[in-house]
Amino acid sequence: MAKLQREFQRQTQCPKRVDILFCSSVDTFVGTMLRLTASRVGSLFTRRMVVATTSSSVRMSSQGHEVSEVSDLSVPMYCDRLDTPLPDKPYQDALSVAEKDLKQKEKGPWGQMSNEDKLALYRLSFRQTYAEMKHPTGEWKTVIGGMLIFIGLTGLLVIWQRHYVYPPFPHTLDDDWQARQVQRMLDMRVNPVEGFSAKWDYEKKQWK
């Protein structure tokens, strides 16, 4: 089992190899696609494309990506949460000599320990106290501010479009045209029972 695990780690920690595998599979995929089109088009252009993708993938695989830090997500992790008072593991695993002494002291009676020692023990196991967890961060200011900035930029864009992109308003939206349209509707007695013309007093020449 341990041997298998080591083998697995060795494979996963070799980015170059993984990269080559990945690129070659992409290459074969792209190559198949392009060959399909090439058989139909048969132009020089597609062949050049194939050459271009192949050379770039070779360049990528020769460099290899830098894997900065691998965190194993399958092991228990520390997490400060109000509804989970005791996280899966203590905050600090690697203890210094003084901290190991403190841990030894913890095995004795607690009543004789000083408050500083108790606090230090607490901080070894937990990162934040409940008071620190519940302390407001003020992040909402950043969020609201960011939202307003983007809404403002959108508004500027809309104004710019209004001036430079959209055509002018149609003439039927002019005030003059609208007034004449209303007059014509009244003259035609549009909807005289309960609708438009019913609200117009034809004798006093005003809206009821």
């Binding site: 005791l86 408050n115 606090l119 607490y122 409940y130 620190e132």
Partner: protein, 141 residues
């Protein structure tokens, strides 16, 4: 039809209103479930038994405490007492302090629960030498 009118007459309504309290008791338990309802005492004794297990390990302590805090209740002092003693057996002072913090947060807006818990737990705290978060000054920033 007239029978319905008679039933809804004043006297009929009065009898309905009078007979209502008799129906609340069976309705309080779920009529559609045949599972027996756990009483509060059974709940408390179950958790006290859980934390009193002599060879309770640290995983069981964490699991039990996280589950208990996940419920919609504040644990009774006797449950907390056995949990704190479990912390002592595991030599885990930090978890003991953390549990006190958690139940204080769990009380929510009811400010009188936590002082009551501390008052009930005071003998245990003195015996084991556990400091409350207030004594350590971590209850506020």
């Amino acid at each position: 039809m007239f029978r319905a009118v008679v039933r809804l007459s004043v006297s009929g309504v009065r009898t309905l209103a009078r007979s209502r309290p008799a129906y609340t008791a069976p309705l309080a338990t779920r009529c559609y479930s045949h599972a027996s309802q756990e009483t509060d005492e059974e709940f408390d004794s179950r958790w006290v038994t859980y934390f009193s297990k002599p060879d309770l390990d640290s995983w069981e302590l964490r699991k039990g405490m996280n589950t208990l805090i996940g419920y919609d209740l504040v644990p009774e002092p006797k449950i907390l007492d056995s949990a704190l003693r479990a912390c002592r057996r595991l030599d885990d002072l930090a978890s003991a302090i953390r549990i006190l913090e958690a139940v204080k947060d769990k009380s929510g807006p009811h400010k009188d629960i936590y002082p009551y818990l501390i008052q009930e737990l005071q003998p245990t705290l003195d015996e084991l030498g556990i400091s409350t978060p207030e004594e350590l000054g971590i209850d506020r920033l």
